[in-house]
C-alpha cells in the first residue's frame, strides 16, 4: 500500500508503544494481535527505529500481512493485517 492509502485505511486496533524501547513495541504488537480478528487491521506506533524493521519480518514469520509504514514527526505508524 502507498502512503496515501495507508493514511486513509480503517484501523481496527491501535497500539501506542512510543514510550517503550526495543523489544517493547514488538511485544505490544504481539499482545494486541490476539485481540483482533483475522482480516482486521492494526497500527503500531513506535519511536524505535529497529521496530520499523522488526515488524515486517515478524509479520512474515507469523503469517500476517505487513501493509506499510508512515513516518510521522518522531515516530512511525506501522500497519499490518492479521
Amino acid at each position: 500500500m502507498n502512503i496515501e492509502e495507508l493514511k486513509q485505511i480503517k484501523v481496527d486496533k491501535s497500539v501506542d508503544a512510543r514510550g517503550t524501547s526495543c523489544p517493547g513495541p514488538l511485544l505490544a504488537a504481539k499482545k494486541a494481535i490476539g485481540q483482533i480478528e483475522n482480516g482486521q487491521v492494526m497500527e503500531v506506533l513506535s519511536a524505535d527505529e529497529g521496530t520499523r524493521r522488526d515488524i515486517p519480518k515478524w509479520c512474515t514469520k507469523k503469517g500476517y500481512e505487513y501493509l506499510g509504514t508512515v513516518e510521522e514527526a518522531g515516530f512511525f505508524k506501522i500497519f499490518l493485517r492479521k
Binding site: 517503550t20 524501547s21 517493547g24
Partner: protein, 134 residues
C-alpha cells in the same frame, strides 16, 4: 532456544531480557540454565538491589540512567513478560545455587522453575537450534 546464563551483572541480564523478548514475540520455546554468577542475581535478596555491571564499568551510572530514561524494564520484569508470553523454563544449576548459599528453589526469585544438573543443559543444548552463552 537454549540460554546458558552465567552473568550476574545487570548489563548482560538486560541483554538477555531483550533477546527473551524477541523469542517471546515469535512464540519460541526457551530453556534458561542459570549458572554460577547468574545464580547470585537470581537469589531473592539480590535480584532487585544488585546493580553490578560487567563491562564499561566506569560509565555505570550513565548506563543505568539511560535504561531508566528509555523506559527499559528491569531484567526481572523482562524475564517475567517473556514467561507470560511464551514457554520459558528457568533452571537453577544446583552447584551454582550452593556456591551462593541457595539450597532450595525457594531461595530464588519466583521466576525460577526448578533446580537441575548439567545433564539437562546438555540435552537441551543438543536439541536447540539456537544456543547462547551470556
Amino acid at each position: 532456544m537454549t540460554l546458558a546464563l552465567f552473568s550476574g551483572s545487570v548489563d548482560k541480564l538486560t541483554a538477555a531480557g531483550v533477546i527473551l523478548g524477541g523469542a517471546a514475540a515469535e512464540d519460541m520455546d526457551v530453556e534458561i540454565y542459570v549458572l554460577l554468577q547468574a545464580a547470585f542475581a537470581f537469589k531473592k535478596e539480590n535480584a532487585l538491589v544488585n546493580d553490578r555491571v560487567s563491562e564499561i564499568t566506569d560509565k555505570k551510572d550513565d548506563f543505568l540512567a539511560s535504561l531508566k530514561r528509555l523506559g527499559t524494564p528491569h531484567w526481572t520484569e523482562a524475564f517475567k513478560t517473556a514467561k507470560e508470553m511464551t514457554n520459558v523454563k528457568i533452571h537453577i544449576c544446583g552447584f551454582a545455587g550452593k556456591v551462593w548459599h541457595g539450597e532450595k528453589l525457594d531461595d530464588f526469585i519466583d521466576l525460577a522453575d526448578d533446580i537441575c544438573g548439567i545433564g539437562e543443559y546438555m540435552t537441551s543444548a543438543e536439541e536447540s537450534d539456537i544456543n547462547l552463552f551470556i
